[in-house]
């Protein structure tokens, strides 16, 4: 019943749109059925449809902020489970004993689109206060092929919508376009190659009829890239490597004789953001490889651990800003860039914010790539004494040195083969996304308050093998690790609040006008006051929260949804730092809350 009414409404909307489109004479090349689907106009103006959640990061600026106001600080205590749905994808493969859920649901007109770790896409009808599975698209991911080279879990962070298609990735390297109505695969294209150690975990970013794909694999000797696929022709429009080729600008920052750049890392496994005003894509890059033996790869190792600004049409790098040159810690700068405009001394500042694994939050001028401010957002940083106020580089950074040592007594190196670093190599913040409240100008960071121990193994070229770890050492977990939600006032670049949590934040954040939603790997989903970070509501899901919350409306009613199923890197590699989490069982479940 509800489904029919939903379809009727969509039908009416489609006709309306079709008229508009025909009148404007736009999009003539697109099939007629795309008219009722997602187009660039809608992706640019998501504020006009606040009941939907169309982007992975909510909007192009990666704010993960909803203006929906039915659930407030005053009534959130009445929030209850509306419905749940068990999903699949828990099975293991390769080196993984089980999958997990890290995805952000996409919501459009009362339908949710979610993924499990192996890349199955579920379309769920959320009308009528309950969830009904409309279809499931199982891409039949090659578990052993992909799971053997996935450094950090059987993960898939979600889909995007375009026209009448659902666009998704698989761990084994495919970009898949599925018919939104039928769940049938319309086409698919191989973008990444697990034979080279490449896998895909991030959600696609859709910009102007292109799907932008990032790659994971910097622990397996990949040479990172971003690739744009035309969603009409199904062909690659551009592919930009994040490690320059021989003779290209930046190649001089690889000074070794090992051809280290060819396996230099610089992965791009977290979905980026886009500024339509300057037609620029912002994307972060991962660590150089081998992770902990930086003497193998003397030089700054561009463009690893960097913020990149790319021309959306060509993929050409407009500017770069490197956060941890010649990184010996595994401090990826791969997190989402949050695009915000704040008043400055001489006009508005157009910033790209990033909370880096190295423990520092950065504001970069997104027009020029110049450092604006930076500060530690974790309680403990030991690898550097701080950032240079002018350049934002770690103060010990010496551009004349081939191999950086930063705080030498702490830094992993060939003469400091076993050492403790803070933050630990999982970082002060990993992939779980931040959220930004543009009214309060507060930016909320899901924090891993951490240290861990690094053992260096000297890398030699003969140790570089396809589909085998290329890390130059490894971490262990002798210290207890906790977490926090840390708020930064973007107008001052200062910490505005910190709510400490018993466990690291492995899920990420949703901001609404007066609330912040987040979760814990011990099972709790919680709502905090947006200003004080005081906890106002909590529900224990009985699983491990490893994914970000989002919100949407159906039939005019607001819901909060979150995927629950602990997987990813934590419960294989870092669990000894949080022994209580060993009792959390693998799971795969969607929770939806309402008043």
């Amino acid at each position: 019943m509800e489904r029919f009414s939903g379809h009727l409404r969509i039908g009416a909307r489609a006709r309306l749109l079709a008229v508009t489109v025909a009148a404007g004479g736009m999009m003539a090349a697109l099939p007629a059925s795309a008219a009722d689907g997602v187009n660039q106009e809608r992706l640019l103006n998501v504020d006009k449809e606040p009941g939907n959640w169309l982007h992975h990061h909510q909007n192009y600026a990666a704010h993960r902020f909803s203006t929906l106001k039915q659930i407030t600080r005053d009534n959130v205590k009445n929030l209850k489970v509306a419905w749940t749905m068990h999903l699949g994808g828990v099975e293991g493969g390769g080196i993984w004993s089980h999958g997990g859920l890290e995805g952000t649901p996409i919501a459009e007109n009362g339908f949710l689109y979610v993924t499990d770790g192996w890349g199955s896409v579920y379309k769920i009808d959320a009308h009528g206060g309950r969830g009904v599975l409309v279809w499931k698209m199982d891409p039949k991911t090659d578990h052993d092929w992909a799971g053997a080279v996935a450094c950090c879990g059987v993960d898939n962070r979600g889909v995007a919508l375009w026209g009448d298609l659902v666009i998704s990735h698989t761990l084994d390297g495919r970009l898949i376009a599925t018919n939104k109505e039928t769940g049938q695969v319309k086409w698919q294209r191989t973008v990444a190659d697990p034979d080279k150690g490449e896998v895909i975990t991030g959600a696609p970013l859709i910009v102007k009829n292109m799907a932008i794909t990032g790659v994971a694999g910097a622990e397996y000797g990949i040479r990172g890239w971003l690739a744009a696929t035309d969603l009409t022709t199904e062909k690659e429009v551009w592919r930009t490597h994040t490690i320059p080729g021989k003779g290209e600008p930046g190649s001089e920052t690889w000074k070794d004789n090992n051809n280290a750049a060819a396996a230099g890392g610089g992965s791009t496994w977290v979905t980026g953001s886009y500024d339509p005003a300057i037609d620029t894509i912002f994307w972060g890059t991962g660590n150089p490889g081998p992770d902990w033996d930086n003497a193998y790869r003397p030089g700054d190792n561009l463009y690893t651990d960097s913020s990149l600004a790319l021309d959306a049409n060509t993929g050409k790098i407009k500017w770069h800003y490197q956060h941890t040159p010649n990184d010996p810690y595994d401090y990826d700068s791969v997190a989402e860039r949050v695009l915000v405009d704040v008043p400055g001394p001489s006009g508005p500042l157009k910033l790209a914010l990033e909370a880096d694994r190295n423990g520092f939050a950065y504001a970069i001028d997104r027009t020029t790539g110049k450092f604006v401010w930076g500060l530690p957002f974790v309680k403990k940083v030991t690898w550097t004494k701080g950032l240079d106020a002018e350049t934002g580089k770690p103060i010990e950074y010496d551009p004349n040195k081939a191999v950086q040592t930063y705080v030498t007594s702490v830094t992993p190196s060939r003469t400091n083969m076993e050492t403790d670093i803070c933050p630990g190599n999982m970082g002060g913040k990993n992939w779980p996304p931040t959220a930004y409240n543009p009214d309060l100008k507060l930016w909320y960071i899901p924090v891993i308050e951490s240290c861990n121990r690094i053992k260096v193994e000297v890398a030699t070229p003969d140790k570089l093998k396809p589909r085998e770890f290329w890390t130059g050492g490894g971490p262990s977990q002798p210290f207890k690790i906790t977490g926090s939600v840390t708020a930064i006032d973007v107008t001052t670049g200062k910490i505005a609040g910190k709510l400490e949590t018993p466990f690291p934040n492995l899920g990420g954040i949703l901001a609404t006008s007066d609330l912040v939603f987040t979760g814990q790997p011990s099972g709790e989903v919680m709502a905090l006051d947006a200003k004080s970070l005081q906890k106002l509501w909590e529900f224990n899901t009985g699983g491990g929260v490893n994914a970000p919350p989002m919100t949407f409306t159906v039939d005019g009613k607001q819901y909060v949804a979150i995927l629950v199923g602990l997987g990813g890197a934590w419960d294989k590699w870092f669990i000894d730092s949080t022994p209580e989490l060993k009792k959390i069982q693998p799971g795969s479940m969607l929770y939806v809350f309402a008043l």
């Binding site: 578990h143 092929w145 053997a148 080279k196 397996y220 000797g221 396996a263 070229p461 396809p466 490894g474």
Partner: protein
């Protein structure tokens, strides 16, 4: 899964293994290759997967560093059958190698220690418990098929995974064009 007799691969392996002076396991491997259906050492392969030995040691047993610390190479190990059985049952104190015997360090003494005496050196508990028969089976599998073997190859990989997965393609490519597949060149498609 049956191991197809591949004389070329087997003899190549034999040469490389002898060069590494592991003649005993090489003989065992060659024997396994010749009489797959009757080989009782295959029984432990299922245990090797079920107990998630592959999670750290990988399917080929080479283990290695990376995010998981440093799982020892079962190909280069010099452990005897008895030492294997003890290590699987009791884990390795002070490392991430779990114990797989129910009641280890409680009812069953391990390395002459109980849980209290092991203290901080107490190894983690395996994801599944194995009966003594399973521990012997996985030990015999590792000794016959992994210990002393040289570099992993296509035939060995296909024996482990079957042909449904592309997990072995890389070894096939290496054997066809070894000069191109030594390392990931990171070339664009």
């Amino acid at each position: 899964m049956e191991l197809k007799p591949l004389p070329a691969a087997a003899s190549m392996l034999l040469v490389s293994v002898v060069a590494l002076s592991f003649s005993m396991p090489a003989a065992a491997y060659a024997q396994a290759a010749q009489t797959p259906a009757l080989d009782p050492t295959n029984a432990g392969k299922g245990v090797f997967s079920k107990a998630n030995c592959v999670g750290c040691h990988k399917w080929h047993g080479n283990g290695g560093g990376g995010y998981g610390g440093d799982a020892l190479s079962l190909r280069k190990t010099e452990l005897t059958r008895e030492q294997f059985i003890e290590t699987v049952g009791c884990g390795r104190p002070g490392t991430a190698m779990p114990f797989f015997t129910r009641g280890a360090y409680d009812e069953v003494k391990c390395h002459d220690m109980n849980r209290q005496e092991a203290g901080a050196q107490m190894p983690p508990e395996g994801g599944t418990f194995l009966r003594p028969k399973d521990i012997e089976a996985v030990t015999d599998y590792v000794i016959a098929h992994i210990k002393g073997a040289g570099e992993p190859n296509y035939a060995e990989c296909i024996t482990f995974f079957g042909s449904a997965s592309r997990a072995c393609d890389i070894y096939k490519a290496q054997e066809q064009k070894p000069e191109d597949a030594v390392a990931n060149t990171g070339k664009s498609k």
